[in-house]
């Protein structure tokens, strides 16, 4: 059972990383508009030609 001395500290680190990621995602506004995100996947293919090319040019 000595393996616990490795696994438990690992748990601590992983938990902290997960919590940090979550805090970052809230802070960057990813939970602001939950209705629109599912649509984005569908609409990405239809990006307007002109808008895309203009952004590339500039």
């Amino acid at each position: 059972m000595e393996i616990l001395y490795l696994l438990l500290p690992l748990t601590i680190i992983v938990s902290i990383v997960i919590a940090a990621f979550f805090l970052w995602s809230v802070k960057s506004g990813q939970y602001e508009d939950l209705d629109r995100e599912p649509m984005r996947v569908l609409m990405d293919d239809d990006q307007v030609e002109s808008a895309v090319s203009r952004k590339v040019d500039s």
Binding site: M1, L4, L8, T11, I12, S15, I18, A19, F22, L23, V26, K27, Y31, E32, D33, L34, D35, R36, P38, M39, R40, L42, M43, D46, Q47, V48, E49, S50, A51, R54
Partner: protein, 812 residues
């Protein structure tokens, strides 16, 4: 029958417009739809039509209800100062977008705007309907951006964020973070707790048990010192104010449980409660998060409703020249400016008429639905509507000091008097925490005196078990379920307290015009005297009516589908009638007194009684009266449906109106309302509500206009119907999103049911705690039992609250 390509509505015959797009002709219902469809295709955004999940309303129709933003004033310095953030080169501003119906709209607007040269960034939030645009002012103007968006059939209103919505959003984010942290670390603690609990059946080496307990301690620190801080802060605030809410017993339970566990961990003997602490904080935060989430949705909705177009005015460049005007923001108007006010426009500031004469609708200020005639030298008030003719007004008081502004002031004053609803659980919590502490003390003393060496563990167990998890969930979960369930039925409850208030209401006060009756008059009956046929009389009346914008004339032209004949030598007498030649014969159309003055004795010939009810107009030629038109300000269909259903529950109904007695009594009689107050000014209405409240009654006010807003604010519950004006909606506790007044009954039943569920929950939670405390006092509650009891009681409470979501009452 075909459907419109753009809006999908059925195309009425005769209105069909065909527009060719990419070589294919598409049927359209109106010019507006055709134009929008063409723009969508030109910008290469036709994917909108494939991907959308909801249909927009017909463009021509929705344009009438959308707030019009006047692009001219958007480039004005004063507007920029109020709404735009600029760093010299790049400017940013926010709008509320009206008419967004599905997430594809978001994509359409963003893609269309971002393809405009000069636009740097566009972000549209579907939930809040808030559009944030950044642009380079050297390349594109604000008015250009606005008109681009409007060309797609959406309405735009400049937005300046209100303090309330910012605070609510910040709180929401903060709570989400704390909840997430409690979840992540709480789960680790629970996994470890399973290992520790299983040691009751199989053995565990002391070394590893110690390790697990210390690790739990480590994991509980962020939960307690980061996630749970709002609970401690709330408890501390309550203690300082010497009031007791739920936070006090919760914080007490957490602190005791933590220190008991801490001692146990450090000394290596005794029980630990880390899992209970973590789970408890997590469940608490979920409840708060749900509650705040419902509240945030409401605030967002209300913010977008209350955003309205900045007032504007047509200022004369030169007081002598009526034809050259500039559009300026109303805020820019100064005393002695000359302003042209066209029919249908709102008067931007208090002033005095210097040219022309017109009828003014002062309903917003006085509650009077009849128009008042105003001519040169008369005063007009900001906020009233010019009904009939264009006039020039000299401003006498700037916009900010106008009569409308003073109504808003009255509103703010009455807001501060609003009776607050003390929360059921908070009252209980006060007694609860005191009782629990007393019990724990007694038990500690008892076991100490009875000589038990382990005496301290008993009061600690009591305090941990007494931590009122289920009790704290009892009310918020029920309220959140009620608010969400109401929203599904198109009833918007602006804040959770309104649910309890609504369940208590025993008097419903209704405003008349616009709420119970339609806002416009209708022709009901035509009587013919003489040789004319009915359709000839209608033709004549409609032809004459088209020369005036008087409400009666509008009702005549609207309700008669006729071929209009040419009228010559028209004379319009305001507030009286119209005379003119049709086919070389002179006709008069007007009120009784108008016809009496033109043709004395004509009306006596048709033997009219003097005391007639309702609105009547006469048409006569030189020989006598030829036709008589009866008008009606009909009741809305849903008013009858409402009255039919409202009898089901014990609430009194009353009518308050600024209208005259005969009209008020007619409406009350038709709807079977016993209590009628007529001729009320906004102040008079406040008095009526106060007198009801003095009798100990709980009053709900249902009203739709600006003049109702002070009364809406003072009533225990204020309700605004779907057609209400923005300002009334923004101040209402309950908003009906569907044009059906009988939703009121649904709302009321739902509120009553919610209060019942809340009582259930509370009684059950208290019962659980009492049993738990007695067992703990006897020493029968190990930590595992405490953890199980806590989760089961919480789940039961949440499950009970979910019944509200599934609640159906009759034909809701």
């Amino acid at each position: 029958m075909t459907d419109c390509y753009h809006c999908g509505s059925v195309i009425r015959s005769g209105r069909k417009v065909v527009r060719e797009i990419d070589g294919v002709s598409h049927p359209m219902c109106c010019e507006g739809c055709a134009t929008v469809a063409a723009i969508v295709h030109e910008s290469g955004l036709e994917a909108y039509y494939k991907k959308r999940t909801a249909l927009p309303p017909p463009v021509d129709e929705s344009n009438e209800t959308l707030p019009q933003t006047f692009s001219e004033i958007l480039d004005d310095e004063a507007i920029h100062q109020q709404y735009v953030d600029s760093d010299g080169e790049q400017s940013t501003t926010a709008f509320i977008v009206h008419n967004i119906h599905c997430p594809t709209c978001v994509w359409l607007i963003e893609s269309h705007l971002v393809s405009q040269p000069g636009v740097v960034d566009v972000k549209l939030n579907y939930r809040t309907q808030k559009l944030k645009v950044s642009w380079r002012s050297s390349e594109i103007s604000l008015s250009e951006i606005v008109s681009r968006t409007q060309s797609l059939g959406y309405g735009l209103v400049p937005y300046s964020s209100t303090a309330i919505s910012e605070i609510v959003n910040a709180q929401h984010q903060d709570l989400l973070k704390r909840m997430g942290v409690a979840g992540v670390f709480g789960m680790q603690i629970m996994v470890i707790a399973v290992a520790l609990y299983s040691s009751a059946w199989t053995s565990i080496q002391f070394e590893y048990e110690e390790l697990f307990r210390r690790l739990s301690l480590l994991f509980v620190l962020p939960v307690l010192f980061y996630s749970a801080t709002p609970i401690f802060a709330g408890a501390w605030r309550d203690l300082k104010q010497r009031t007791a809410t739920m936070d006090v017993p919760i914080a007490l339970g957490l602190i005791i449980a933590f220190f008991a566990s801490l001692t146990a961990t450090l000394t290596g003997s005794g029980e630990i409660y880390y899992d209970s602490i973590a789970m408890f904080v997590f469940i608490q935060l979920i409840a708060r998060f749900l509650e705040k989430g419902a509240y945030r949705r409401m605030t967002d909705r209300i913010t977008s409703l209350s955003a309205s177009t900045p007032n504007h005015a047509n200022r004369l460049v030169d007081p002598g020249q009526v034809h050259s005007t500039v559009v300026v923001p109303a805020l820019r108007l100064a005393v002695d400016d000359f302003v042209l006010i066209k029919p249908g426009e709102a008067i931007p500031a208090d002033g005095e008429i210097v040219s022309g004469s017109t009828d003014v609708d002062e309903a917003l200020l006085t509650g009077e639905s009849n128009v008042v005639h105003r001519t040169i030298g008369d005063s007009v008030f900001g906020g009233s509507i010019n009904v009939s003719n264009a006039v020039v007004v000299r401003v006498t008081r700037p916009s900010a000091e106008s009569a409308l502004a003073s109504i808003v002031k009255l509103l703010e004053d009455s807001m501060s008097e609003k009776p607050s609803n003390t929360r059921l659980t908070d009252q209980i919590a006060g007694y609860f925490s005191v009782t629990v502490v007393m019990i724990a003390l007694c038990i500690g003393v008892f076991w100490y005196w009875s000589g038990n060496t382990n005496w301290l563990s008993y009061p600690i167990a009591v305090l941990v078990v007494a931590c009122p998890c289920a009790l704290a969930l009892a009310v918020p979960t029920a309220l959140t379920a009620a608010v969400n369930s109401a929203a599904k039925r198109n009833i918007l409850i602006a804040h959770p307290d309104a649910v309890q208030a609504l369940a208590k209401v025993n008097t419903f006060l209704f405003d008349k015009t616009g709420t119970l009756t339609q806002s416009q008059a209708h022709l009901t009956r035509t009587e013919i005297f003489g040789q004319l046929s009915q359709s000839e009389a209608h033709d004549l009346a409609a032809s004459l009516s088209s020369f005036s914008d008087h409400p009666i004339c509008r009702a005549l032209t609207d309700s008669l589908e006729s071929d209009e004949s040419e009228v010559t030598e028209v004379e319009v007498e305001h507030g009286g009638g119209i005379a003119g030649y049709v086919n070389e014969k002179r006709y008069y159309l007007g009120s009784r007194s108008y016809i009496d003055s033109k043709l004395p004795g004509a009306i006596d010939k048709i033997s009219e009684p003097m005391d007639q009810v309702g609105l009547i107009a006469y048409l006569s030629d030189d020989t006598g009266v030829v036709a008589k038109f009866h008008f009606d300000n009909p009741l809305r269909d849903d008013a009858f449906r409402l009255i039919g259903r409202i009898k089901d529950f014990p609430a009194r109904l009353a009518l308050v109106t600024g209208d005259r007695q005969s009209e008020a009594e007619r409406v009350a009689e038709e709807l079977n309302i016993a209590e009628v107050h007529w001729g009320c000014s906004p102040k008079g209405k406040l008095g009526i509500i106060r007198s009801h409240q003095k009798l100990g009654e709980s009053v709900a006010m249902v009203g739709d206009g600006i003049n109702d807003t002070p009364t809406l604010a003072i009533a225990n519950v204020s309700i605004a119907p779907a057609r209400a004006q923005h300002i009334a909606k923004a101040n209402a506790d309950v908003l009906l999103l569907d044009d059906r007044l009988d939703l009121l009954v649904t709302a009321r039943n739902l509120a009553e049911f919610t209060v019942k569920v809340m009582r259930n929950n509370t009684v059950w939670a208290i019962a659980y705690n009492l049993i738990g405390i007695s067992l703990a006092a006897a020493g029968f509650v190990p930590p595992l039992a405490a953890a199980i009891g806590m989760s089961v009681s919480s789940i039961l409470v949440v499950g009970n609250s979910l019944r509200i979501t599934a609640y159906e009452h009759g034909n809701t």
